[in-house]
Amino acid sequence: MSARPLRGLAAWMTAAWVALTLLRRLWRGEVVVLSQYGAPVVRLLAIALVFLASCAEKVRAVQAEPQDQDQETRATPTPAPEVVVDQEFPDGLTDADLQRAYSWIAPRTLHRYFYPEAMGEVAGSVPIGDMGEHPLPAMREPDEEMRQRGEVLQAAIDAHRRTAHLGPTAAELLALLDAAEALSVYDEWFAGHLWRHARTLRPAPVALLARIERHLRIVHALTMAQASTGPIEFSAWRSKAGPPPGWQRLRVPPGLVAAAREAFKQGADAGTWESEASLELTVARGEVVLIKRAGETRIAAGAPLRLRRLDVVRAPAAAVLRHPTLGELALPAGAELGAWNVAQFLDSAARAWVQGRLRAVLDGEATAVTELEAVLPAAHEAIRAALADAEGRETGGRTAALRLLLQAFDE
C-alpha cells in the first residue's frame, strides 16, 4: 500500500475523532478552556464570517445604489482658488519613510525640541518665542540626502528660534513646514505650533493656513489608518497586561500609508481643528468671503458661516455677522476676521457678557465654563488676560478650567 491513501485515512480518522470528541462534549454540556492552538482557529473562523458578512453587505449596497450619482456634484459650485495650494496626499510617501522618520523622532515627541513652549505657551504661562535650545537627535545611519534634509530642518528650527519673538514671516513658517515634511515628519502639535506663530500675520497667510490644514489632514488620515492596520505603538491599557517579551516600541504596520492615502481620499478632515473651537455665525447684512483651504466662497446675507481656526473671513464692503449669544459683529470694508481676532469685532454688550462669564468661572459656576467653551474664538483673549491677572493669586484651582479651555483653542 502506498503512503498517499494511508495519509488520507489518517486525516479522515483524525477529523472523525475531533468531531466525535466535540459532539461528546456538547452532549455532556462540558465547557473547556480554549487551547493555545485552538484559539487562532476560532479567531480565523470569526474573521472569515465577518468578512463574508461585510462582502454580502457591500453587494447589497451596490445593488441598491441610485443610477444618477453625480447630480449632487454638479449642483455644488466650485470656489475659485485665491492661491493654488497642494491639498493632495504626498505622492512619494511610503511605510519605510514613516518608519525612518519615527525611528528618528518618535511619534508624539517632536514638541520636545521646541521645549518649553510646548508645555507652557498654551497654558499662557510662558511667552511665545521663549524656547529652549534642544537640537534634533542624531539620525541612525542616514544616507547623504537624509543627512542634508536633517540639516535643513535643524537650520529652519534654529532660524525660527531666532525670529520667533520678533514675529516670524509666513515664508519662514512655510520653510519650517517644508523641511519637516521633506523628512516625512507629520505631527499635529507641530501644525498647531505654526498656526500659533502665524496669529499676528496680516493679511492672514492663507497659503500657510491651507498647508497647515493639509498637514493636519495627513496626520488625521494616518490616525484613521491605524484603526485598520493596527497601531504604531504598543497600547498598555487594553487588558491590564504589559507588553509581551521581545516587543518593539515602534513598528509602522505594513500598509499604513496606503490605508492613510485611502482615508485622505475619502475626505479625512483636520480632526479637532475641524470640530473644536469654531464659531457658528450668520451673515446678517452685506456679503463676506470665506477663505478655507485657500479657496474662496462668497457668502451672502442670510447664509450661515462656520468660522474654524484655519479659516479667514474677508469683507470686501462693510458687512455684519450675527452670533446667537454674542450678537452682531460689524466688519468694516476691507476687514479681515480670523479665530485670533474675533474679540476685536465684538460690541460692548458682548464683551461684558464674556467678562461676566469669566467672573462666574472664577466664582465656581460650572455652566459658565461650558458657555465660554462655545465661543472660544471670541473669548480666548479675555481668558488669557484673566489668567495673567490671576497669576500668583490663590484661586482655589478655579483658573485650571480656564487653562483647559485655552488649550482647546490653542491646540
Binding site: 470569526a46 507588553p243 479637532t272
Partner: protein, 347 residues
C-alpha cells in the same frame, strides 16, 4: 498574517462579537489574558474614590501558600496570563517578594497597580523581577493629589516610584489618573507633570461608584466635564501617549482618537479579578453578589471555565454588548453617550 491582522483590525468589535458567539455555541472559553489579584485590602491612604474601600486588612485574606497554590499554580495551568497585583496597597503585604519571586520562577509575567509610596524600598526586588507593567496613581498636581489621597508627600512619592520603576527595567510605566468632578477641569495642569515624570503613558480612568466610591456619588463628573476631558485626551495624544481607560466605554468608530486599539470589555471574557479573600469577580467590584466562586472552594480553572456565562453569551445584554464598561453600566452611568456622543454619532 498581515492580511489576517488587517481583516481583524478593520472590524475588531464585530470579530470579537462573532468569536464570542462561536465560543458560546461550541462550549469553549478563551484563556484569560490577565488576572488581577487584590493582594490585600490594607492601605495607608484613604482615597474617596477607592473601589475596594481599602484601609484595614480584610478578614480571611489568602495566605502565602494559598496565593502560590490557588493563584500562581492555577494561572500556569491556564496558559500563563499576566498576574496583575493590586490592592489596597500590595507592597504593604510582607510576603509579596516571596510571591513575586515564585510567580517569576513559574514563568508568569506580572504587573502591579500601586500608589507608589513603598516602591523605592523594593528596588532590588524590582530589579530582579521587573514587572511588565506598573501603574502609578497620580490624581492631580502636588496639592490636589496629597489632599485627595489624604497624605502629605504622596505626590512626591508617586513621582519617585515612576523613576525607580524605569531605572529597574519595568517595560511600561503608566501614570493613572482617576477623573472625578474635582479633577476633571484640572487635567490640563496635570499634563506637564505627567509628561515630565518619565512615565511611558498616561491612563485616564473614570471614577466608578464602587467600594468607597459608592459613598461619594457626587464625585462623578458632569456631562460637560466628560466631554471636555475626552476632547483633551484626544488632543494630547499628539504630544504624549494618553489613553482613555475601559471605564469610559467604547467610542465606537471614534475609538481610534482615544485609544490605540478598539475598546473591548474584558470582564469575564479575557480577564477577571480575585478578591483579597479569594472571591473570583468579573472586574474591579467589591460586590460579592458578583462572585463566581471562591478559590478555596473550587480551583480557578474550574471557575473560569464554568463561570461568567452572562459575559460570554454574545448579543446585546447587560454584560455582553462589548461597548459599555460593565461597571459603569451596572451603576447606570451613561458616560459613553456623554463623553463621545455615542447616542448621536457612533456606536
Amino acid at each position: 498574517m498581515g492580511l489576517l491582522h488587517r481583516l481583524y483590525a478593520r472590524a475588531a468589535p464585530e470579530v470579537w462579537e462573532t468569536e464570542t458567539r462561536l465560543l458560546h455555541v461550541l462550549r469553549l472559553v478563551r484563556r484569560p489574558v490577565a488576572v488581577q489579584w487584590i493582594v490585600t485590602a490594607a492601605c495607608d491612604l484613604h482615597c474617596p474614590h477607592c473601589y475596594s474601600s481599602a484601609g484595614k486588612r480584610a478578614v480571611g485574606e489568602l495566605s502565602t501558600e494559598e496565593a502560590k497554590r490557588l493563584i500562581v499554580d492555577e494561572l500556569v495551568a491556564l496558559g500563563k496570563p499576566t498576574l496583575v497585583l493590586a490592592g489596597g496597597e500590595l507592597l504593604l503585604r510582607k510576603d509579596i517578594p516571596e510571591i513575586i519571586a515564585y510567580a517569576a520562577e513559574q514563568g508568569l509575567e506580572w504587573a502591579m497597580h500601586t500608589h507608589g509610596g513603598h516602591v523605592p524600598k523594593f528596588r532590588s526586588l524590582l530589579a530582579r523581577h521587573p514587572p511588565a507593567l506598573a501603574a502609578i496613581s497620580l490624581d492631580g498636581e502636588r496639592e490636589q493629589h496629597d489632599l485627595f489621597r489624604g497624605k502629605r508627600g504622596s505626590f512626591d512619592a508617586a513621582l519617585a516610584a515612576i523613576r525607580v520603576l524605569k531605572e529597574t527595567g519595568c517595560r511600561e510605566v503608566v501614570a493613572g489618573t482617576t477623573v472625578t468632578r474635582l479633577s476633571a477641569d484640572r487635567v490640563a495642569d496635570l499634563f506637564p507633570v505627567v509628561a515630565a515624570s518619565g512615565a511611558d503613558s498616561w491612563g485616564l480612568h473614570l471614577f466608578a461608584p464602587e467600594g468607597r466610591g459608592a459613598e461619594h456619588m457626587a464625585l462623578f463628573p458632569s456631562a460637560a466635564q466628560l466631554r471636555r476631558v475626552a476632547a483633551f485626551a484626544r488632543r494630547k495624544r499628539a504630544m504624549f501617549h494618553v489613553e482613555l481607560c475601559n471605564e469610559w466605554g467604547s467610542a465606537g468608530a471614534d475609538d481610534m482618537y482615544y485609544r490605540d486599539q478598539p475598546f473591548l470589555c474584558g470582564a469575564g471574557r479575557i480577564s477577571c479579578v480575585i478578591g483579597a479573600s479569594g472571591e473570583v469577580l468579573p472586574c474591579t467590584t467589591t460586590d460579592l453578589r458578583e462572585s463566581e466562586g471562591n478559590l478555596r472552594d473550587r480551583p480557578l480553572r474550574q471557575i473560569w471555565a464554568q463561570g461568567f456565562t452572562r459575559f460570554r453569551r454574545g448579543g446585546n445584554g447587560e454584560c455582553s454588548d462589548g461597548k459599555e464598561c460593565w461597571l459603569q453600566s451596572r451603576n447606570g452611568n451613561a458616560c459613553r453617550e456623554q463623553a463621545f456622543g455615542c447616542g448621536r454619532r457612533v456606536g
